[in-house]
Symmetry: D2
Subunit: 471 residues, 4 copies
């Protein structure tokens, strides 16, 4: 089934959830000024899927069209379609679509459960498919939670048990879990929260080898939202002062699991270190690769803003500034190109197409470096005004409004309001949480480089040199 954005919002309105914003539990969370932009973003993932076949493939599992983000991608073309969807969402919204972790989790749990069943004769895959069918039929929005809070990094998990989501009670009908997952983008506005392990574990740490699906309504789940400057701005309202007024900054939360009961049918990995390794590796590669496509879309948005800013200032013909636009375009196409390359040279893992591991990690690194360069170019093009401009409220003040309007206009082709909207949008790019999000989404660049050390076939390269030099 493909529901509309509005239908998703309607469904969401029927839920009761424990969501905390700036120290207070939220009533009518759907309309809370810090939650609403997330809801708007997710809503677009529904609406856009209906507009393009590429974004709503037919699923044999349920024999109907489903959202690409709930689909098990089986071919390179599937994965490319997902990356195109990702890029377009990023470009249109200038923020997170919140569902890519859900798509990554589906693509990771599908083969992981299948493999463990083949190995041990268990029925995890069946359980997983049952839930997946429901997700596809009801067109649920899914996210995935990985990062445990970890506590003192100098200790191993078993010496910091509470700092990792773990089983506190094993019952006949399910398990009771406790712990906290941090850095969770938009989990509070989803229908399903997959929960996956944060890292691989050693023998003796099986208790942390755990993956399951939670439902935000499960008793004991609490969401505590991040609290950046942009959220304060949104709480103050306005028409466009928030920079990206409709879709907002990327909003993450910490998810508390306070003795949450999970029935067995929603448990997909249990005390199996191999399954953890497979699901973690596939999730990480998929997320890094999707992140490269996502960055391309973000850069598209920044490039569009930069181009408009040049025009609004009357500077669109200055060669050295136009050259910066050219560089921004090149960076977007590079990161997107790597994602497409990774899909093309990917591999089938038990029926789920995975991106090429080497390229997925390379895309992450190039994406972070590129994003940083683009922010610098955008800032260079825009000048200091994105952080020094008066507000829309000043424009409306009877005493100074007319002067502000007069002095903030530049090119006659743009009204002051139009120019100020662009300025505030660029402020958003330069001071929101996106830079840190780009650096750490899917793990730090350092982590990706370490991955590459292990993934790379160094022997093949050494051999080529040895053969060349008769060594």
């Amino acid at each position: 089934m493909l529901i509309s954005g509005n239908e998703y919002i309607e469904r969401l309105s029927g839920y009761e959830r424990e969501i905390f914003v700036k120290g207070e539990k939220v009533e009518d969370f759907v309309n809370n000024p810090n939650v609403k932009p997330v809801v708007n973003s997710i809503a677009l993932t529904f609406d856009l899927a209906k507009k393009r076949d590429e974004y709503s493939p037919h699923s044999d599992l349920v024999d109907e069209k489903v959202n690409r983000l709930n689909y098990v991608n089986r071919t390179p073309e599937d994965l490319m379609a997902r990356f195109d969807f990702q890029r377009e969402l990023s470009m249109r919204m200038g923020t997170c679509n919140y569902r890519c972790t859900g798509a990554d989790a589906i693509g990771a749990l599908y083969p992981a459960t299948k493999e463990v069943d083949e190995r041990l004769g268990t029925d995890y895959h069946e359980r997983f498919l049952k839930l997946l069918k429901e997700i596809q039929k009801k067109d649920y929005a899914c996210t995935a939670a990985l990062t445990d809070v970890k506590g003192d990094r100098a200790k191993r998990p078993k010496d910091s048990r509470d700092m990792y989501v773990h089983v506190v009670e094993k019952r006949e009908d399910g398990i009771v879990v406790s712990g906290a997952k941090i850095h969770q983008s938009g989990a509070f506005a989803a229908d399903i929260n997959f929960v996956l392990p944060t890292q691989t574990f050693r023998e003796g740490e099986e208790e942390f080898a755990l993956a399951f699906a939670a439902v935000p309504e499960d008793e004991g789940i609490k969401y505590i939202l991040q609290n950046t400057g942009y959220q304060a701005k949104f709480r103050e309202g306005g028409e466009f002062e928030q920079g990206n007024p409709k879709y907002g900054d990327r909003i993450t939360c910490t998810v508390l699991f306070d003795n949450v009961f999970i029935p067995w049918e929603r448990v997909f990995i249990f005390e199996d270190l191999n399954a953890v390794r497979k699901s973690l590796t596939n999730f990480a590669n998929s997320h890094r690769c999707a992140g490269a496509a996502c960055k391309a879309g973000f850069i598209d948005s920044m490039t569009g803003a930069a181009s408009l800013m040049l025009k609004a200032n009357g500077l669109e013909k200055v060669p050295v500034l136009r050259q910066k636009l050219g560089e921004m375009v090149g960076i977007a196409e590079a990161t997107y190109g790597i994602a497409i390359g990774a899909a093309t040279k990917g591999w089938d893992d038990h029926g789920a197409w995975q991106p090429n591991m080497l390229m997925a990690n390379a895309g992450k690194i190039i994406g972070v470096e590129g994003f940083n360069k683009v922010i610098m170019h955008l800032a260079d093009i825009a000048g200091g005004i994105p952080v020094t401009a008066p507000s829309e409220f000043d424009l409306k003040n009877p005493e100074i409004g007319k002067l502000v309007e007069k002095y903030l206009q530049a090119s006659p082709n743009f009204t002051t309001v139009e120019r100020l909207k662009i300025i505030k949008f660029i402020e958003f790019w330069a001071t929101s949480s996106h830079l840190l999000g780009a650096i750490h989404g899917g793990g730090s660049p350092t982590a990706a480089i370490i991955f590459l050390q292990y993934l790379a076939d160094l022997a093949e390269k050494e051999e080529a040199v040895k053969e060349n030099l008769d060594l």
Copy 2:
């Protein structure tokens, strides 16, 4: 005279000013949550000056100790003392001290007025000294305003007259000026606002060749504050949620000159294109060079925060992360070293010691690149938590506070509150207006590079090659 920070605040409280924040005129501006951090920052420039002789030299002009920022620097050592002051202020506050433009203006107007008098037999220098004596005696805080709003960049000033501060009436006792200056850091909390030209002008554009001193109480002056996310956060209060709760983000404003009368004794450049060139060049070089020292102090602050974060996470012994600290230190010392080199190899302009022009501009460029790298290193070290962490308000919530406290602790050597303070401080560095401030303070890097094209003695370098190659 050297007053204390509190005396400055007391004096400030006696003033009435037209200051607009988020569309509303402010009452009791000194205690406004968006103005107060600026006041705190400036107050520290008074208190710190009293603590070190280096920061409070004896001025022959008034025969008493004065603040280094109100002093006419005469030697390399003077300039180094100023840069040391700058770096320490930046390190201690993690934000703008708001008075460096005042110091730059004093160092630029001193020789510019002297030179024009020598050339034309005028008395501008005497006028300037008279004001400077008052500034030194009363220990005024000064700022300087340069950047006009400019309007459509495709036009020359005379075709956009209103967009440049200009004389609307010339009277016997003074001039009446109109226009608007943007990007003005902290002008609303100063005692004196110097106003200097934004660029050089061609023949026929003499009407814009203008420098004067305004007093915030002059009728017709209005300040409209910027409005970033951090300002919204400060308006919401808190103990440390604002990241840098005492000194805050760099707060700039747009200064409106709405038919402001300036008596002749406060006019220092009038329709003289040469004086504009000298004052602009000296100001720009001085500001870029001071900016290099300032960046060193900012990087010190970020390095301290990064080092504390590693300890709070239990990661202080990881070699690859320690190496990042080493790089941060290197960048700070590089930018500071260039500023010291520029002071050492500077030049005397009519009794005011100016930094070496080439190095001043080189320092600007290295400073921007370095600042950007350091932000990336800091973000890498800190992880994603600076933008995803719960707030101090969540800690205080009876329902979730204890869980937040438990889950956000890491190293046992730091309480959760201590760790969260560090985290919020790093969030401040990564999402405040400092990155754009670093890029554009003193003009864009592109502008500095163009300057270098013209300043450089390319002929000397060509000659060396020609001699080497017998060309």
Copy 3:
């Protein structure tokens, strides 16, 4: 037909050519120490093609297997196979394969001739196919020459006629051309030299709108080889002192056309500005994209060398150095990934599959930046010894040889000779002409960025922002 490397060398030995090395015309050019490495490189393009089907597709044109580099690629998979071939050749040889320009020219002239015939009813495509069949049947090695010497860049071509290859006489049976093409990699060791225009031309400059095929034996063609330090080293001989003793540095030449007669059947563009634009654009994109794959192979070779060097020094376990290997791998996979992405998202131009233009140019830029970073990493890993080591001749000296052998050994797993071979190979990477080759092959990065300005759909990105912001 697929001939072997040896058959190619045999055929080459039958030719007479005017080749000048260091001011002297070469006898027995095939065995000249500066030509031989080029011959060895091209020979491998024959031998490797025979080993893998992917590198020797079946051509319908001649109904037999042909070298991938002489094939008209029709699908994304074709282009990927070509890029894989490119990468493997680069990795195995650590130098240019000299035939990629030939492949690019075939892919560019095929649609250009077809399009002009469709437009004007001419028979250029037939002419071209006739030659192509011969090339495929005889398994010729082809190169392509574009860059004219250009002379004073301040002038337009028509004011510098001699500096551009142009028609000096138009005859019934063909044309007589004069001029010089520079930067020609390995043209002297090929069977066919395509000659294409160096740039687009304006109306009135039709005389330079010219593409044809030359044969090195055509009367009046002279090749003047570059003369770098590595060529001097090769002239001195040795077993491995040359670093890359078998395949050598990239050897380019200047090709002089001294009144060369070209029969009409070898003329493919004549006085047609549109055909110039198409062939130039397709050639440039194809070459930049192949260059990205080529750089990946070069980086593979450098990574292999770096890994061996670490082992030869006993440093293979140092984390910070291993991390550099990881970064090198990431860069190789990024550039290769972009090439694969470009092939996947390419387009059909009259039956010849072209890489995606945006990604092709993005790949060029990322390739250059990446190559530079990798050189720095390789140098960092290797230490100073690649440029300070004694020579193989010192090893053989009876007086000092034993001491050299003793002092240059490090890890017991490598003999001194083995370690020295690796060292000299790294010297080759750091001081050969490859860095400049990487920067300028396919045009400068600046040119690629300008291309991107024009290729990019900025309007689409502006629209996305406008829709988001209700502009």
Copy 4:
């Protein structure tokens, strides 16, 4: 005494030395084509010293003027004069002056010997002063050797004894040493070779704690020159084909100590771990700082070449290329500025003025990054021709010479020979051993960053943050 370059060459001609070039012992070493450029470079250090007082201070030790490079610098101004000398030499020669290690060794051994005498009552300082007086009086050229060959890096020195210069026999009149020092720039053309330890040592490794002065004529000393492509080019002769025909590439050697007797009066550190630490630290900081000034001079030379190349091509007015010149200038001034800053904020160590340690290491890092950027800019400006151009020998060939002359001319303001000289000079910069020399001279950037970790006062920065945040 100040002798001339010619007098130095004359003196050198009187020596007999064991110098091996490409496997053969050299006769008449002064005129050997690979040694001569080194001799020319050192000769300029004598001639230039005579031209400027700044470069030839009065030494109280011998009561006469001496070369700045043999002087014990006592003040910041002294050190700045040395850095100015360094920069000018680098700019004029475009290569190593070979004596800066000698100057660094004098500045390091002076305080190290003084300190050890104060601590232990020994007479090392007196011995050192005796030699220094002779050096100053006779105007000797000195170098210093540090880097041992080290062998297997996985072992400690005592398990690889032969790989470190060490005492093989202790006699009444002196010591006998064996071992090999690598990376020694120009040692074979000096009068004195200081030998210093390559690293600090632990207790139990006292046998390697050793510093002394060797004389190239000491029996058992053998020099084996590096053998890069440029050396092969120089062996082939020519007028300007070598790029930097007079001063050449940086020529290093491996120095073999084959049971060399060193009398006690030339031994300055003996089995003292503290003295090793002091001399090593001071040497390293001094050399890194001098290296920053040196890189500024190299960049001056490249900037001059780039500017000439633009003119020779008719491109000197293209804004985007001029901007690259501006960036090159900025980088040179930045590295030089740091050196000047380091001299200014340096410290007195027992009467010898040392550069600021933090800045010295920061200068090293910025210097390497800057050098790399400048090479890329130079390459971008020059195009591919520096590695693809014909040779001067082709110009002289009767058959093709005229055509080469015609086709290689560009701007009418430069003859073909003039343009080709510039081209070959740029080839020299891009393919000589300077890039690796810049990276590793004074140790790798990684080493400098590790140094900075330990030198930095992190506690001060942490304290500033803690005070700011009430931690």
